[in-house]
């Protein structure tokens, strides 16, 4: 299968991927973006440090929280997921947006959310929380040219999601913002 953007129309662009499997960004990279991958993070300071690595990034990809362990339903288990999967998404997205606003430039954020699994309280809570975070931020930042969308990580494998991510982050999907894709 060829890449979605084989002609590399985005050569020269940069993207930051936080806590995302490498395979997720294959089509973005094939389209010409230089992608920096950093591990998942969960506070404002680490988010800022990650963004400092890629000050020109116009795309931010926030990976999904670590796989759920529904059996470990204690507070520590909840925090282990909510840290990177919820707080981390908020801090990364807002740090990214502040920099784009200061630069008077638009941007695009793509968030992977856990599957809305009703048998897993932590994943279910984070899934709905992040979905509505995305819907909220989309409206706050629309007139600034910053789009933000979300994909459920249960839709497909990272390899299979890669073209969808490249599409949603491309200008061809410019009118898509605040969308939360689940199946």
């Amino acid at each position: 299968m060829i890449a979605l953007f084989p002609a590399r129309p985005f050569a020269g662009g940069t993207a930051l991927a936080v806590g995302a499997p490498l395979a997720l960004t294959a089509d973005i990279e094939a389209g010409g973006y230089a992608v920096t991958h950093v591990p998942a993070l969960e506070d404002e300071n680490t988010a800022g440090a990650a963004l400092d690595l890629t000050p020109a990034a116009s795309i931010l990809l926030c990976g999904a929280a670590s796989p759920a362990d529904a059996a470990a339903a204690d507070f520590a288990a909840w925090r282990a997921q909510a840290g990177p999967g919820y707080d981390g998404v908020f801090f990364c997205a807002t740090e990214f947006a502040r920099r784009r606003l200061a630069a008077k430039a638009g941007g695009c954020i793509l968030v992977l959310v856990p599957a809305p699994d009703d048998r897993d309280p932590a994943a279910a809570a984070i899934s709905h929380a992040v979905a509505n975070l995305v819907r909220t931020l989309a409206v706050e930042w629309a007139r600034d040219g910053i789009r933000i969308n979300a994909i459920s990580s249960a839709l497909a494998t990272p390899e299979q999601l890669s073209p969808l991510i490249a599409y949603l982050c491309s200008p061809h999907a410019a009118y898509v913002t605040g969308a939360v894709l689940t199946a």
Binding site: R143, L164, A173, A179
Partner: protein, 284 residues
């Protein structure tokens, strides 16, 4: 003041999917003679698919066929009303005979008008719901019957007002929400057949025959009320459909993709005083 500027898509002519992505495929677009249906048909054709457009107005269809053929693909007009059960098999037969078996189905046909529910005639109710929902059921089941286990892709055209109610639109608000449920359930049911089913819940995509108009004044007024600051461009809608029906979305099924520039997400805790729909100057 806004910092950046809401992005515009490339022009249609710039293309999107790698050339020939849908080569060898045959798309059938209901309501394909104008508006969003033609937008999808054009995007399918641009990616190399042969396209049949189905509708009630032979005149509109012929114009659409000309536009599609100018993209270098084969195109066919099929005169039919999606509400007519007896017309479904002949419609597929006609496409098969000329273009080959249908591999992409776009259930797009729809109609809509403002009316209060208690003032809605039975005919008005049926005219909208049977086109949007019954039509989609009829064409999807026939598509699946013919496709067997050969696989294929269905894209349904829903609307962004399915995520809330839509006062004075009981027929379309319910029927288009039904499309979302239909999409998700058929996606699950037909996964084993290799058939993917997705839908688009679109906001404002003005075109020459849209009720909200597509003149400069209408565009400015509509754009101003949308978070994105503009209405959708038809190529954005068409490309979304083409992407979801392409091999690049081979693992994507059961999805409802909202493409509305954030219009369905506008909300303030405080709003102007509520006016019951029946007291409004304009129902919508």
């Amino acid at each position: 003041m806004s910092a950046g500027r809401y992005p515009e898509p490339p022009p249609f002519e710039a293309g999107f999917l790698p050339p020939g992505t849908l080569a060898g495929q045959v798309a059938l677009v209901t309501g394909g003679g104008s508006g969003l249906g033609l937008g999808m048909a054009m995007a399918f054709a641009q990616a190399g698919a042969d396209v049949a457009v189905l509708g009630r107005s032979a005149e509109k269809l012929e114009v659409a066929v000309g536009q599609l053929e100018s993209l270098g693909v084969r195109a066919l007009a099929v005169a039919a009303d999606v509400r007519n059960e007896a017309g479904v098999a002949p419609a597929f037969d006609a496409v098969e005979a000329t273009l080959g078996p249908v591999t992409i189905l776009a259930n797009n046909a729809g109609g809509n008008f403002p009316v209060l529910a208690d003032k809605m005639s039975a005919n008005a109710w049926r005219s909208v719901t049977r086109i949007a929902l019954d039509g989609a059921v009829l064409y999807a089941t026939e598509f699946t019957r013919r496709t067997g286990r050969g696989g294929g892709a269905i894209i349904n055209n829903s609307a962004h007002y399915v995520w809330s109610g839509f006062p004075a639109d009981a027929h379309s608000a319910s029927a288009k929400a039904g499309i979302v449920g239909l999409t998700k359930a058929q996606a699950r049911l037909w996964a084993a057949h290799g058939i993917r089913v997705n839908c688009l819940t679109a906001g404002f995509f003005p075109h020459p025959v849209s009720g909200s108009g597509d003149g400069p004044e209408a565009l400015e007024r509509l754009g101003a009320m949308i978070p994105a600051g503009r209405t959708g461009r038809m190529q954005e809608f068409g490309w979304a459909a083409a992407f979801l029906c392409s091999p690049f979305a081979a693992a994507i099924s059961g999805v409802a993709l909202t493409i509305d520039g954030g219009d369905s997400l506008r909300r303030s805790l405080m709003s102007p005083a509520f006016t019951p729909p029946r007291e409004r100057e304009s129902l919508w």
